[in-house]
Symmetry: C2
Subunit: 244 residues, 2 copies
């Protein structure tokens, strides 16, 4: 048996947003590896071993998956959303460094609907013009880098999607981000909080930067800040195609 | 019969990347509206009317779709990729301005796999750290806005995804973009050209900014520029999770 490693995106939560590509890979897998709540989305079946693991062990998890693939297993590493956006794909490629044996494996990345796209769709089209996507978790980078990036993004007049706005370990970061953004963009800028998108708990709230508070976000929330032209129409929010 | 308007993303090209949500909406549609090559992806069937239209008539197309939904049809507006990323969702919301009757319609946006995510997956994980997404077509915005945005994005050390790098009407824009990026990021920065992603014509090429030429891109290409830490491993390219 020839082993393989597939890094697959499960989308934001609803099975109706999982691509047929990902469904097919899961149907052929011998082993599924991932963070506990994502592996919990996979139905158990004969011939499939589930390997749920805790958060913040991405590199260990990637190495374990590669080891199994090298041993001949058909391994699927699952991420929520898209595996290439703040998820497992980078960790797997990092684990390939210096390992020519693992680099020769059959490795594939299968994209998924990342949270910001599902959030934008639920809110309207706030990412309809140039935008950026920033991970506000400062586990992996210093706050100064995040703040510089936010200020450049504001001066470029990007709409912005924020992942991991409030980590349990450093909840103050998002308040600092909001303060910097108010300085750059003003109080009136529209901001959308999209919680648990595509699940039964989905909640979409649009307000202004002046009225936004850090408590509006938790770890299940994606936050989308509009650009200078983002506006409301009916109960929707959208960014005009022209950026103006 | 109650009309509805669904704005659906068909993904980058392969049917295996179309979500079940979008497939279900198409199965229930009475009318499908969109740009000619996207409508060509929909199988004809009894009870379904296809309305292909030319490019650059997005607002007219949106109004025609809303008119049909108001008349009781179940209309699906199709975009390739994700409808909220440089596609039809913004045009539909723009068409709602000042039309309280249309704003009361049953409107939904169904996300899709946008080209940059499929391109990144095919290349590795070049968008694995903070990134931005820029439409290089200057049909809707002046070149000065694009260049300012590129320079801020470079100084923020974003990875960057470029849509519509070379429009037929203004092919010189991409060369100017590459020149500005070389100034900001240096000759050694990795850049990936992903053409016709997920189709039989798929071609992925990674080179450096110093070796990149405008001719490497056409209208079917998404271009991904790495950040300062983006590197190769084996035949893959990825951005480390730490950004360093």
């Amino acid at each position: 048996m020839t082993g393989s490693l597939t890094i697959a995106g499960l989308g934001p939560g609803a099975d109706r947003m999982v691509t047929p590509d990902v469904t097919a890979a899961l149907a052929e897998a011998t082993d599924v590896v991932g963070y506990i709540p994502y592996v919990a989305r996979i139905a158990p079946r004969a011939g499939l071993t589930l390997h749920p693991s805790d958060n913040r062990v991405e590199l260990d998890r990637a190495r374990a998956a590669l080891q199994m693939a090298a041993a001949g297993k058909r391994v699927v590493v699952v991420s929520s959303g898209d595996p290439g956006v703040f998820a497992m794909a980078s960790a797997v490629f990092e684990a390939l460094e210096g390992r020519a044996d693992w680099q020769a494996l059959d490795i594939r990345v299968l994209p998924g609907i990342t949270a910001m796209l599902a959030a934008a769709a639920a809110a309207g089209a706030p990412l309809g013009h140039d935008f950026c996507c920033i991970n506000l978790s400062d586990n992996l980078k210093p706050w100064e880098v995040i703040e510089t990036r936010l200020r450049h993004a504001a001066r470029a007049d990007f709409a912005m999607a924020f992942y991991n706005p409030r980590s349990a370990s450093r909840p103050e970061g998002f308040g600092r981000a909001l303060a910097a953004l108010r300085e750059e963009c003003g109080e009136g800028r529209l901001i959308t909080f999209a919680r648990a998108v595509s699940t039964p708990d989905q909640c979409i709230t649009t307000t202004t930067l002046g009225d936004a508070t850090p408590e509006m976000a938790d770890m299940r929330t994606v936050v989308i800040l509009g650009n200078s032209a983002t506006r409301r129409v009916g109960h929707w929010v959208y960014s005009p195609r022209s950026g103006r």
